[in-house]
Amino acid sequence: MYVIGKREFISLFKGIKSIMIIVIFIVTAYYSAKFSNLFMSMMELTAREGEHIHTFGLLALLLLFGQLFVMGLSHDSINRETHERTIRFLVTRTSRTSIIFGKFFGIWLFWLICLTISFLITSIFAQKIDIVIFSQTMSLLTYYIALTILLSVLISKPGITMFLGIVIGLAFPIFGLWVSSTSNVWVSWMKFIIPYYYLFENDYTYWLIILLAGIMLVIANIIFKRREY
């Protein structure tokens, strides 16, 4: 698992897409923190919201484009291997569970580092790091990564996951935020399987997001184990 994770982690840092996303993260973190006072004057915020205004830009970026970024970089983490049959080198050497969780671990570590750097930048202005907000944000990214891996296992063609990555990446936050606030009984139940609902609570319910991510990974693993290459 560690070897697969390490390779996935290193390969994520290569290529122009990764560099662009890292730059977007850092620039957003820096300027949103720098101009946080401007947001304060433009919006009516509660005391707690005001306290965390420095991370506002970063959170907005992740809520709106997080899924798009994660899928943009990792939509083919599994299906590229199956499509090109390099997966045969992996399944003949290690367990399929190690492959799924190794891939997850590598991608997760990449985003953990990106997020940590971004929070360190905001901390220059805020003079502190809020561990709960950091954990909530990381739980959201964990969900995005697990969903990306699940789709990459379910769909065998990288071209389709690339297309779906854009569609889901753009539609997911809009749909997610809508079902989290709607009273329509036909769709409101879906808020429980989408992460945004749990993020609105200022407590430790974000752990449920990690639980949802875990369930998606277990499903991905079960499907991956049944597949033939």
Binding site: V3, V91, R93, T94
Partner: protein
Amino acid sequence: MNAIETKQLKKSYGEVPIVKGIDLIVEQGEIFGFLGRNGAGKSTFINMLTDIIQPSSGAYTLLGVKSPNDQVKKRIGVMPDYSTFYGSLTAMEHLKFLSALSGKPVAKARCMEVLQLVGLESHAHKKTEKFSFGMKKKLGIAQAIVHEPELIFLDEPTSGVDAESVIHIHKLLIQLHKSGKTIFMTSHNLDEVEKICTRIAIMQEGQIVKIGTMDELRNFYRSTITVKIKHSPVPKSEQVKLQQWLESVGTDLEMKDPYVTINVDNEKKIADMIRAFNQCNIDIFRVEVEEPSLEEIFLDE
């Protein structure tokens, strides 16, 4: 201990059976050749043993361990039939990554040693996207042996490789065999199998139709041996006696000086004939024995 043991291993896709219940034992230290036409089920069988696909029914053990087993995977090396590599990695990076994945990370020196064995030392730092088909085959073998596995699966190791490299690979396989490794290989190349394999199985329509050493297969497919003897002139006094005796030991006798051609049913009769010629004061210059080649056996079958 058996390196491979399968019991009624079957694979079907829907209603179509591909492998129809194979019972096979490969002992440690063998180079086992698996021979069959395209679509006979060779690759499906090897893919089941290496956990690339799952059997529909039946069981198998590798190195004495009920498989598929993740621990035993560390002790085997596999070259799949269709090898595409990570285009952005070099040959050296592949060997380092894949050996680490097998739980036996190797140093650069060992990678170079293995690349040298397959004749890729000058391409160690070249990205595999620039590799030719033959070079990918060689890297396929290199990655299968880099972590020094006890059991090596090679699916068509020499197909698409130039003649010089084929000789190189044969030498390497013989060298691995001498060092105690068990090799299970499939091939279309009959000469190759005949030359290097200690035992052979012929697969047809998902079943093993014949298995054994080359000698056993020959004995099975041809019960008579054609012997051609070149000799000095037969003394007139011995001609009748010799002809009568030869007719009693074999069939299809043909005597045309300086040659005698005859079919016998076992090798001992060749020795008897040589003794008989000597007793008649006839010198023997040459003895040629014609046996069925694997090609003939394969085509007959």
